[in-house]
Structure formats: C-alpha cells, structure tokens
C-alpha cells in the first residue's frame, strides 16, 4: 500500500479515537476545557489526514524532525552515469536514468513565408508527439559563457598593472609608461564592454527518463528510448539530434550554469557600483 494511504488511515483513525474521547468526556468543570482541546486535536488530525493526499512527503519528515528547516533529502539530486551521457537519481528502491538530447534548431521566422511559418509551428507540435513515452521538450535561453575570455582579460590587466608599476618604480622613459598605460586602458575598457552586455544563447533539448531496479537496467532502457526519439526528431524536423554528454549536461539542469560565474560576478559588481553611485 502506498505511504500516503497509510498516513491517511493513521491520522483518520487518530481523529476518530479523539472524537470518541471528546464525546465521552463529561461536560462540566475542567473537563469542558479538556473536551474542546481533544476536539480541536481530532479536527486537526482529520485535516492532516486529508492533507496526506498531497503532502505525505512533507508530513512524515515534519513529524520526525521537529524543525523549521525540514530536510526531505540530504543526498544530491542526481549523479552522472559511468557512461557519461545520462544522469541518475533514486526513487525508492528504483533507479531513474535520464538522457538529454540536443535538438539543433537554427531557424528564424523572419526568413519564413506564412506557409513556412505554419508548417514550422505544426512541425514543432509534432516534435512533442514523436513518441508515446513521457518526454519533455525545452527551449532554453541562457547567458553565454564568457568566463574564459573574461579570465584572460583579467590576467592581462593584472599583468599590465604589474608592468606599469615596475616601469614607474624603475623610472623608465615616459614613452614606455604611456604605452603600457594605454594598453591597460584598452584592456580595462574591453573588460568593461564585454561584461556590460550580456550575450545570450538559445538551445532546444528533449529529456527522457527510464526506470530500472538496477542502474544499468535503467540506462539500457533510456538509451533505447533515446535512440527511438532521436530517429523520430530526425525524420520530423530533418535535423541531427545528439545526446548531450559530460559537463554539458549541467548546462541544462543546474541553475548556476545558466549564468556563468565570472559574468554573474561582473554583473553583480556593476549593479552594486551603480546603486552606490
């Protein structure tokens, strides 16, 4: 029997017992107060019983933990499979393997005739129905990763600043100092410009999951499903979808990969500076 039914029965049984106790208590003196406390507890228990339909996942930890911060799970939400092309998670005793399929769609409606637009919209509709399996198709807009470039610029600026300091201390000719000064200003401006404008990328991907009692079983099933879906997408849209592998998977599931760290910190610093000014 599902946990939620057990929780429902348990709370409802408590509610009935408390109601019986409340009814059997005498209606005089101190017992009146006790009667109403028991009645309120019975009603509260019946509400909890009904709430178990949706909130069993919270009610049980809430009772066990007696804390305002309730830990539903202390484990990572997922882990990467050994095949490097799927993520795995656990649901009870079962393993769920999920694969992300990249769908390279580079079409714009501005280049289309009304008939083409209509056909394209219908094709996208068909994309979702390529398979009978539960599948999720996502269009994702995210910040382009300019971390590496920003890092290179920062290193260059720091190098130039060192050079400028060394030249100033060693009383080098002003021509050389000015040259370094100019280069430094250029790199700083470039860093300023690159972090001023946030560049975006748009990707489309499909996600599919499969359940198995063992990791490899879930992985095998999900691979089969993925192949089927990829051939469906390929024939519907005439493109070549591919399975996302390795760290690229993180781009589609982790929030911090939607906005790369350097870009974010630049943006936050800029916002704070603007607020101060």
């Amino acid at each position: 029997m599902q946990t939620k039914f057990l929780v429902f029965i348990a709370f409802l049984a408590i509610a009935f017992v408390l109601l019986a106790v409340a009814a059997s208590l005498p209606s005089k003196g101190f017992f009146i107060v006790l009667k109403f406390i028991v009645l309120i507890l019975a009603i509260f228990s019946s509400i909890l019983a009904f709430a178990s339909r949706f909130y069993t996942y919270l009610i049980v930890p809430l009772i066990q933990q007696h804390s305002r911060h309730i830990v539903l799970s202390n484990e990572n939400a997922y882990w990467l499979s050994t095949t490097n092309d799927a993520i795995l998670s656990k649901d009870g005793q079962d393993f769920i393997a999920s694969i992300i399929i990249s769908i390279p769609l580079y079409t714009s409606s501005t280049e289309m005739s009304p008939e083409e637009k209509n056909a394209f919209a219908k094709q996208v509709g068909r994309l979702v129905s390529t398979t009978g399996y539960p599948m999720r198709v996502t269009a994702q807009l995210y910040v382009m990763n300019k971390d590496l470039y920003i890092q290179q610029l920062r290193e260059k600026i720091s190098l130039m600043e060192n050079q400028e300091a060394t030249l100033t201390q060693s009383n080098a000719p002003s021509k050389e100092i000015n040259k370094v000064h100019g280069a430094l200003a250029m790199w700083k401006k470039m860093l300023d410009n690159i972090s001023k404008e946030t560049s975006f990328e748009m990707s489309t991907f499909a996600m599919i999951s499969a359940r198995g009692s063992k990791e490899y079983e879930a992985l095998n099933i999900v691979h089969q499903k993925a192949m089927e879906i990829m051939s469906g997408i390929s024939s519907t849209l005439g493109i070549s979808p591919s399975i996302v592998v390795g760290n690229d998977i993180l781009k589609f599931i982790e929030p911090e990969f939607l906005m790369p760290y350097s870009t974010v910190s630049e943006q936050i610093t800029k916002n704070i500076q603007e607020e101060v000014i």
């Binding site: 409802l12 109601l19 009814a23 209606s27 009146i32 009667k35 109403f36 009645l39 019975a42 009603i43 019946s46 009904f50 339909r53 949706f54 996942y57 919270l58 305002r68 911060h69 309730i70 830990v71 799970s73 939400a77 997922y78 993520i87 998670s89 649901d91 769920i96 999920s98 714009s108 409606s109 289309m112 637009k117 209509n118 919209a121 219908k122 509709g125 068909r126 979702v128 398979t131 009978g132 539960p134 999720r136 198709v137 996502t138 994702q140 807009l141 910040v143 975006f200 748009m202 996600m207 999951s209 499969a210 359940r211 599931i253 929030p255 911090e256 906005m259 760290y261 974010v264 936050i268």
Partner: protein
Amino acid sequence: MDEEATMFLAFTGLFYLIGFSILRDLGHGALGMLAALLLLLGFALVLVLNWADFILFPIVTRMLGVTFQPAANYKINTSQDAIIKEVNGIYYATGFVTANLFSYIFKLEGYEAATEEDRITKAPEIWERAVMSINFPFKYHVFGVGLDVQKIRDELEGKRSYQEFQLSRAIQGNANEVTITDIQRKINAIQAKIDMISGGEKPLATLMYIETTAIGVSEKAALDALATQINTLQIAFGGFDVDLMRVVGRELYTLFKFDFSLPTSFGEAAAHFDQQQ
C-alpha cells in the same frame, strides 16, 4: 475530481458527519454551538485543501517560517514559490510559472478554422518577439505523454454525436441562427480533431511551464529579482494570451524533481495533469 480525491473526501467527510451526529455529546447550548462551529471550520479547511491547497499551504508555511530542503544544496523558501541554491556566495532563485499554450493553439472549439490557422502562423513570430524582449535566463518546457488513440477517438466521436443531437434539437425547436452556427462550429472543430488523429497525429496530454532563474548577493535579492523576472515574462508572453500563474507548494516540488527525472509511464505522469487544465 478523480476516484482518489473522492475517496479521501468521503472518508474525511464521514468524520465530520459523525461529529455532527454526536453534537449533543460534545456539548449543550453555547458549548454545542461552539463544537458545531469548530467542526464547520474544520470541514471548510478540508474543502479549501481539496480545491485550493496552493493558497492555504504557503500561508501555513509562511506563518510557521518553515523551509524545506528537497535535495542537498537546495532550499524551498517559506512562501513555497522558489527554489534557492547558493554557490560561492551567490544565490540562485528558481521559480516556475504555468504557461499553457493550448488555449492559444488548440482552442479549436472557440475559433473558426481560418482564425486557428492564422494563430498558428503567427506563433513563431510572437515566440521570437517574446524571446528577444527577455534579458535573463529562462526555460520553456513542454512535457507531453502520448494518449491511447482509440480511447480519445471514441471520446471525440461521443462528443460529436452529442453535438449532432443538440443540432437536430435546435433545428426542430426553431432555434435562432446564432445557436445553430455555434453548434455547427463545435461539430466542425471536433471533426477536425478526429481528422487529425485519422491523419496519423498522436493525441497528447501535456504540461507546459516556464522556469526562470534569478541571481542575487543575498536570498532576498535573488527572490526580488525573480519576482521582477516573472513579471517581465508575463508581459513578454502576453501575445500568446496565456495565464502565467506562479507555481507554489507541492507543484513546485514536483517541477523541481522534473529537472532531474521525469515520470516514466503514462500512469505516473497522469497524476500531474490535473494540475494544469
């Protein structure tokens, strides 16, 4: 209401029915009225939980200051409308909004076929305009699962027969032209759906929603930025005429889990479809 909801409501209702039937044992006069009031209040709360738990649940968690940890490094805030992750001192707040495009694309029974085509043709353009006006990361998800073709066909044929019966009654009863045209339009729309299925298209059950992530140097800053982003999304997707409702409570937790693993069968997925009409 499905069978499970009916069962939960019936058994919980039984508690209140018994409560009212033993009202005399719970108290006489003013005490009896107080007991009746408490029982009525309890039952009202049960009904609210049944139809609008997404209103009641965040109120309770906000009052008690309860937060949840759905997985390591993630936190659901007290308002139950965002998932927060902290990475290197930067807070990422992720929120979800429903964005059911069915009312835009597939509201067949309300529109003429020509209008329908026109709306489908305009969809890619509206989508591109919406995406271009957004300057923060977001994901548009369409989760779909194939339905039993024969069952849906039978249902549609049943609906068509009913409308045909209505039409013959309207004609016999000398109904006005507007009523007859309206029924004929509905029959055409249902027929169009049957033709789509006959043409090889699979009927689908879908769940459509938008996920967006905001950043901040503190939890509050990230949550404020998230609220602004959601408002922007509501304006940007205004062209699609969709209701963008903020997802809260248990649905937020479900959608969070969808990022790492999807339902693997129709039965598993079906439980989620009553949440978005």
